[in-house]
């Protein structure tokens, strides 16, 4: 049986193309499971998973918890909007305390880039990165690619546009790595102040004009402006941002082709995307949410099977 090349999911950049294929094929199976009347399999009855969220999260936390429960894993949750450092305890100590209660896997969201990588070097458990600062959010990128694959039949050769606050976005970075690994072309669009200066060296196109960018793409992934991560105002007002980088019906209708609209959530309706776009047939936003559970089940299942070995 195939297995992942890694023991942790710390970021897309640590995966290879075969890993992604394996995750998607496994997710196909679990997507079928969660649409059954009995949405549960007994696969991970002997596995205990700790969800450690050092940063606020609603959908990712729910999605992971649901994925774990549908695999019959035992689940414990720990949430703290503060990082452990601020409380005086180191991250390693916090996690080791939890692991000493015989936990096999840690799903962690953390405000600092590299927190998952750091933890994987110092504690004895399988780590799943559920978002670390502006570094990576690998399961989001996997579910995004999975959703593109479902909607368009594949990811290779597709033109995917990511719009908005790239500078503070772990979703953007993981998506870039995932899409490139699968042979898609990636373009970033947003105000220059929200695009990392050297991002073109990663091999992506950069466009500051949204109309040109939308005309180029097959899929547009609209990101939220992450005000909570900003140390200074990167644009004068939300109103002005929306004028330049908000997607609305009129704009979509002016394009030559029908593109697919995605959003990792939570949506700021009327800012980066209008309601008539978010709720339209072109939008696959709710499919992304459903696929998130299947993809996370696949990731956890595949990592757990390596623990069992």
């Amino acid at each position: 049986m195939s297995e992942l090349s890694v023991n942790h999911l710390l970021g897309i950049k640590y995966l290879n193309k075969k890993d992604i294929q394996l995750i998607f094929e496994t997710a196909d199976h679990f997507k079928e499971v969660i649409n059954r009347p009995i949405k549960k399999v007994p696969s991970l009855r002997d596995i205990t998973i700790a969800n450690l969220f050092f940063e606020n999260s609603t959908r990712t936390k729910l999605s992971f918890e649901l994925a774990e429960k549908r695999l019959s894993a035992d689940v414990i949750n720990f949430s703290s909007a503060q990082s452990s450092v601020k409380k005086g305890e180191t991250l390693i100590d916090t996690v080791n305390n939890i692991l000493s209660m015989k936990v096999d896997m840690v799903v962690m969201r953390h405000p600092n880039p590299g927190a998952g990588v750091f933890l994987s070097k110092h504690v004895n458990a399988s780590i799943v990165n559920a978002g670390d600062g502006a570094h990576e959010h690998p399961t989001q990128a996997l579910l995004d690619s999975y959703s593109i694959r479902e909607k368009l039949g594949g990811v290779g050769g597709k033109k995917v546009l990511i719009v908005g606050d790239i500078l503070h976005s772990r979703v953007a970075l993981s998506n870039i790595f995932a899409l490139q690994l699968q042979g898609a072309e990636v373009m970033l669009c947003g105000p220059k102040t929200l695009i990392p200066k050297y991002v073109d060296k990663i091999g992506v196109k950069v466009e500051t004009n949204l109309v040109k960018a939308l005309n180029w793409c097959d899929v547009a992934n609209m990101l939220r402006v992450q005000n909570e991560r900003m140390d200074i105002s990167y644009f004068p007002s939300t109103r002005e941002y929306t004028q330049q980088y908000g997607v609305n019906r009129e704009l979509l209708d002016s394009l030559d082709k029908e593109i697919t609209i995605m959003h990792p959530g939570p949506i700021n309706r009327g800012v980066e995307i209008t309601s008539d776009v978010a709720d339209s047939k072109q939008s696959i936003i709710l499919d992304q949410v459903q696929n998130g559970v299947a993809v996370r089940m696949a990731v956890i299942y595949l990592l757990a099977s390596k623990i069992k070995q």
Binding site: L91, I92, N112, G114, V117, Y198, D231
Partner: protein, 418 residues
């Protein structure tokens, strides 16, 4: 202290015995004879070591020893011991302490900790009170107690008028002002060099621009005020060019580069290893090449280890929260020799001291013995067992070093590695 050094190859262009292998007789701390086959008639202590080379004593313009306040990181006494075993006969100590060294009494305290030591401790006083960048510290009063320069360690003076006044005021008594090259407003929350690696890691970048803007400002100020300015630890190619141009204008400017900034690039950070978290940050290959060229052509005056002991608690945490800094004295010689010839390495290790108020002491008859003893050829892998510092935060751990330090003869004392 009476010593007879047997068969030592002298590496000292200022000595008439440069490049020759001689015996050196030292009587009461003064070199009394340099010749072939000196007979040990007075039964002096003899030093006879494998492939022994000697040079003038080495100098580091930027070290931190924790004390007072951070004795858990390092003490002055152990710091000096580290310096001695690493071949340094003089080190300039930063006001990187708690309380900050910003008064005559503070300088006197530091000096009292280093009396009668083989290594000369040259205290640097803070430029502003408590290094807060608000009011000038009592520079002249510190100078009278022995302060060799004035520097708010790693804290840029954000107010240009204050820097202008500092340069003007210190020039009254030929004082050396140091300015950390960083514009903090540009740095923001940056923690590593801004480039493709920071982008891939999602870590906030520190643009080279932050350094270059500050250096440009300071050079304009220096041109206006006159006075003596030293810019510690430059890290970018453009900084080298800026200082080169300033030297062509005959401004009284010197600068240093940290050894790790000419050895590593930011690419080593891909695994978020906090050992590599230093300030200024590790930059690009282009920067490293320009810095090395700057050393070769004399634009950069000296290399510093920027030795800064940090507790494990300050390093074994998330990258954003980790402290900046590395120790470096122990590995300095062996790393430099990986980049430069032995002759150039010795040149780099000896020429900065004049700027910090210490005379050159060539290995000539009649001069005080201020000597570093070493074997330039042995190679070894640098590991924790080679670290003398209390804190073990060594950026060069696991690197192969070229050259081994035997010890020093300085201040009428001998310190030799066993």
């Amino acid at each position: 202290m009476n010593i007879l050094i047997k068969s030592a190859t002298i590496i000292d262009p200022k000595s008439e015995f440069h490049n020759s292998t001689k015996d050196v007789l030292i009587k009461n701390g003064v070199i009394t004879e340099i010749a072939d086959g000196i007979k040990n008639t007075l039964n002096f202590k003899e030093i006879k070591l494998d492939n022994l080379h000697i040079s003038q004593g080495w100098f580091d313009s930027s070290v931190s020893f924790g004390e007072p306040g951070y004795e858990d990181r390092e003490t002055i006494l152990n710091g000096l011991k580290t310096a001695a075993y690493s071949g340094f006969t003089a080190v300039a100590l930063n006001a990187n302490s708690d309380p900050i060294i910003d008064s005559n009494a503070d300088i006197t305290f530091v000096n009292s900790k280093s009396n009668n030591n083989a290594v000369s401790l040259l205290p640097i006083g803070a430029l502003t009170v408590d290094s807060k960048g608000e009011y000038l510290a009592e520079l002249y009063d510190m100078r009278t107690a022995g302060a060799v320069a004035f520097y708010d360690y790693k804290k840029p003076i954000s107010n240009p008028n204050l820097m202008k006044i500092a340069l003007q005021y210190a020039s009254n008594f030929n004082g050396l002002v140091c300015s950390f090259p960083q514009e903090n407003k540009i740095v923001g929350n940056g923690v590593m060099n801004e480039n493709i690696t920071s982008t891939r890691l999602g870590l906030k970048g520190i643009p080279a621009l932050a350094e270059e803007l500050q250096i440009s400002r300071d050079l304009f100020l220096l041109e206006y005020t006159g006075g003596k300015l030293h810019i510690p630890t430059i890290s970018t190619a453009k900084s080298v060019a800026l200082i080169k141009a300033a030297k062509q204008k005959k401004l009284d400017i010197t600068c240093s580069v940290a050894l790790h900034n000419i050895f590593y690039t930011d690419e080593v950070l891909t695994e978020f290893d906090t050992s590599y978290k230093v300030l200024p940050p590790l930059r690009t290959k282009t920067d490293v090449e320009a810095l090395i060229d700057g050393l070769k052509d004399g634009t950069i005056d000296m290399v510093t280890t920027d030795h800064n002991p940090i507790n494990i608690e300050g390093k074994k945490i998330e990258f954003d929260h980790a402290d900046y800094g590395t120790i470096g004295l122990e590995s300095a010689f062996g790393i430099l020799q990986n980049i430069f010839t032995t002759k150039k390495t010795i040149d780099i290790l000896t020429k900065g001291k004049v700027r910090f108020g210490t005379e050159q002491t060539p290995i000539n008859i009649g001069n005080k013995a201020n000597i570093t003893l070493f074997n330039p050829d042995t190679k070894y892998v640098f590991s924790k067992k080679h670290i003398i510092s209390k804190s073990k935060n060594a950026i060069f751990e696991n690197e192969t070093l070229k050259g081994h330090v035997y010890g020093i003869i300085s201040n009428n004392k001998t310190v030799l590695n066993s």
